[in-house]
Symmetry: C2
Subunit: 121 residues, 2 copies
C-alpha cells in the first residue's frame, strides 16, 4: 500500500486562525504542531521541557530577557527549558513546533492566548 507523507503546506492551508497550534503527527510522546502567528505573544517559559521552533514561511523573532533570535524559513531554534521567551512576528509566520505531548502554548502563564491543547488537523 502507499502511505501518505505529511505535507506542511497542505496542512497549513486547512485553517486561518492564529495562535492555535494544531497537532499533525506524534513521535513517541512528542508532538509536531503547526501554527500561524502574527504580533506579540506573552512572556512565558516551560519549566519541564525544551521547545523546538522550525519556521516554514515568514520571519519569526523570539525575544529573551537577555536578547533575541531571528528565524526565517528553513531555520530552527531550540528554546531550553526554563528560559523565558516571547515569540513575535511582524507579518504572519507559519511554523512547526516540536515538544512533548501536553505542553501548553503559554507555558506557566495563562491568559487569552492560551490555546486548547491536543487539537489535531
Amino acid at each position: 500500500m502507499n502511505y501518505k507523507a505529511l505535507n506542511f503546506k497542505d496542512k497549513l492551508a486547512l485553517f486561518d486562525e492564529q495562535w492555535t497550534p494544531k497537532v499533525i503527527a506524534e513521535m513517541n510522546d512528542y508532538q509536531f504542531k503547526i501554527v500561524k502567528i502574527k504580533g506579540d505573544f506573552v512572556w512565558h517559559d516551560h519549566e519541564d521541557t525544551d521547545e523546538t521552533f522550525i519556521v516554514l514561511e515568514g520571519k519569526l523573532r523570539i525575544d529573551f530577557r537577555d536578547g533575541q533570535v531571528e528565524l526565517s524559513d528553513g531555520e530552527m531554534f531550540v528554546v531550553l527549558k526554563g528560559v523565558e521567551h516571547k515569540p513575535y512576528a511582524e507579518e504572519e509566520v507559519k511554523m512547526l513546533l516540536i515538544e512533548p505531548r501536553g505542553v501548553n502554548n503559554t507555558g506557566d502563564k495563562g491568559g487569552k492566548l492560551t490555546a486548547e491543547n491536543d487539537v489535531w488537523i
Copy 2:
C-alpha cells in the same frame, strides 16, 4: 545579545559525504540530525523508538514490508518503532532526522553503512 538560528542549508553546505548523519541540535534527550543519502539503505528497524524524517531537498522513498511512502521537500513521515523500513533515493536527498540520542542509523542491523553516532556539525 543576538542568538543564532540554525540554518539547514548552511549546515548542509558543510559536508558532502552521504549516509553520515550529523547532529545539529538537541531538544531534551532528542537529536536533530541532517544527512544526505543517495541509493539504497539497508532494511532495519528501531525496536525502542519512532523516527521522524523531514525532507529538506530532493525526494525520498521509504520502503516498508507492506508498501512505501514518498516524500518531497516540505514533507515529513514518522516511522513507528519496530517497523522495518528501507530509505531509498534515486538522486541525492537532503533530510532532517529526529530521534532520541543514541539511535544508530542502521537500527538492529550492522554493516558498512552503520555511521558513527553523535557526530556534531
